[in-house]
Amino acid sequence: MATVRFTKDHEWVSVEGDVATVGITEYAQNQLGDIVYVEVPEAGRAVDQGGEAAVVESVKAASEIYAPISGEVTEGNGSLEDDPSLVNSAAEGDGWFFKMTVGDASQLDDLMDETAYKAYVAELG
């Protein structure tokens, strides 16, 4: 059973064993609108919690995607290169951005669980 956590910047991280998968939330993709380009990190890149890890571009603008936890990128989602709209159609599924190692599992405690994130989004109106 995966542990799923959310950031205030609307990234999600799903941890299963020692592999974390990162993407943006349904709320985020809806706010961004039509995604036309995604730049995912290469395998081997070290990322810090809260540091820039990927870039997502809508028709209107470019937005930075931050690493929810620290660790090393093991795989970027190559499918997004050919079909960035996967982020719109399956933000919390096939539209994942990258997979990474879990550098420090205690960092997950800094993040919101699904209930807390839903309440957070509701607050944003």
């Binding site: 609108g33 039509d34 036309v36 380009y37 730049e39 870039v55 571009e57 809508s58 028709v59 209107k60 603008a61 470019a62 290169e81 960035p84 109106g125």
Partner: protein, 371 residues
């Protein structure tokens, strides 16, 4: 979800229509404007190219210039041939400053008894003050805050509008007519900012909700917001004031020499003519060009442009994704030596050099109705 924005912002008379349609309201040039509706920018863009879209552009400034010498008075401020503008025809031109820079770009229509001016929202106060101050009693500027402006754009626009005003069908690109739609006297001009066939309608503010709803009620028509307006005009190669042109760029650098009338080239007599006519004869150090990135990453405004040796040769002024092109498109200024179509350049995006080429404009072919 609430889409309300700051109370300090001005609203167009169509704000209630936008809200009802689910428009995502954002601040733009001091106004609360819909950047998109629930369909999204991409769908709104594609619908405009395939059918017809209605845009609210009521934030733009409208004014009329009265007086027998209105055309002559206006020619002191713009390089276009206003005296030679045929009755009912619109000309695209710019207000220039002493340095040859562009104060604003605008549309001027000759209505015989007066000229009708449409200027950018962000510049209307500056423009109207500049025009009023320089008329020297030869004409009278009357700002028309009682007029709203809507644009019906796309290949089905003619078919739709002709149901209400049959004369619109055969009207040619850049021509205008006054016509009554549902009891409201509108000024209809066959032009726009999308590269498509279409019209702009200057409608009495009190009637615009009714007229907009009437057009939106036609099966071919959907509402489109500022986001689609921007991607459409970028693909059409049309300059956006504040991005591609401003007080530091001249009409010659901006590749707008075609707007300068033959007589005006010979006679001059407009603000900044010495600079502009010299550039026309001798060329400029930089030119506005179309730019097509080779890859899929968009390059946005202010992206640095380098030559293949890493020297800075210019900057992107508008850039994004072109839904009709199916990839990134941009415009910007490059040193004139690099302005030839096909020239290889690099765009510096997030520290990386992305290969691109100077491209012909427009990116999507214009489909204006020329009869």
């Amino acid at each position: 979800m609430s889409d309300s924005v700051s109370a300090d912002l001005k609203k167009t008379p169509l704000v209630s229509v936008h809200e009802k349609l689910g428009g995502k309201m954002v601040p733009f040039a001091g106004y609360e404007m819909p950047v998109q509706y629930p369909a999204g920018i991409m769908a709104e863009h594609n619908h405009t190219r395939a059918s017809a879209s209605l845009f609210d552009v009521s934030h733009m400034g409208q004014a009329i210039l009265n007086g027998d010498d209105a055309a002559t008075a206006m020619e002191a401020l713009v390089p276009a041939d206003i005296q030679g503008l045929p009755l009912g025809k619109t000309g695209y031109t710019m207000l220039t400053n002493e340095d040859g820079g562009i104060i604003d770009d605008l549309m001027i229509t000759n209505h015989g008894t007066h000229l009708h001016l449409v200027v950018n929202a962000s510049r209307k106060d500056v423009d109207f003050e500049h025009i009023s101050r320089n008329l020297n009693g030869r004409a009278e500027l009357q700002v028309r805050e009682d007029r709203a402006l809507i644009a019906l754009q796309g290949p089905k626009a003619s078919e739709v509008l002709s149901r209400f005003v049959p004369a619109c069908k055969d009207m040619k690109f850049l021509f205008s007519t006054a016509a009554v739609i549902d009891g409201s006297t509108c000024l209809i001009s066959r032009l726009g900012y999308t590269g498509e066939d279409g019209y702009e309608l200057s409608v009495p503010t009190v009637d615009v909700v009714r007229v907009a709803k009437l057009l939106l009620g036609e099966s071919e028509v959907e509402a489109a917001g500022l986001g689609a307006r921007d991607s459409l005009r970028l693909e059409a190669g049309l300059a956006l004031y504040g991005n591609d042109i401003d007080t530091t760029t001249t009409p010659i650098e901006a590749n707008l020499a075609w707007t300068i009338g033959k007589r005006r080239r010979a006679e001059g007599g407009f603000v900044g003519a010495d600079v502009i006519l010299k550039q026309l004869a001798e060329g400029t150090e930089r030119l506005k060009v179309g730019i097509k990135p080779d890859g899929r990453a968009p390059a946005r405004a202010h992206t640095e442009i380098q030559d293949m040796d890493g020297n800075i040769i210019g900057e992107i002024t508008s850039g994004g994704f072109g839904p009709t092109v199916g990839g990134p498109v941009a415009m910007g200024y490059v040193k004139t030596d690099f302005s030839k179509v096909g020239t290889e350049i690099n765009l510096m995006v997030r520290g990386k050099a992305l290969p691109a080429k100077v491209a012909a404009l427009p990116f999507a072919p214009n489909r204006y109705y020329r009869g």
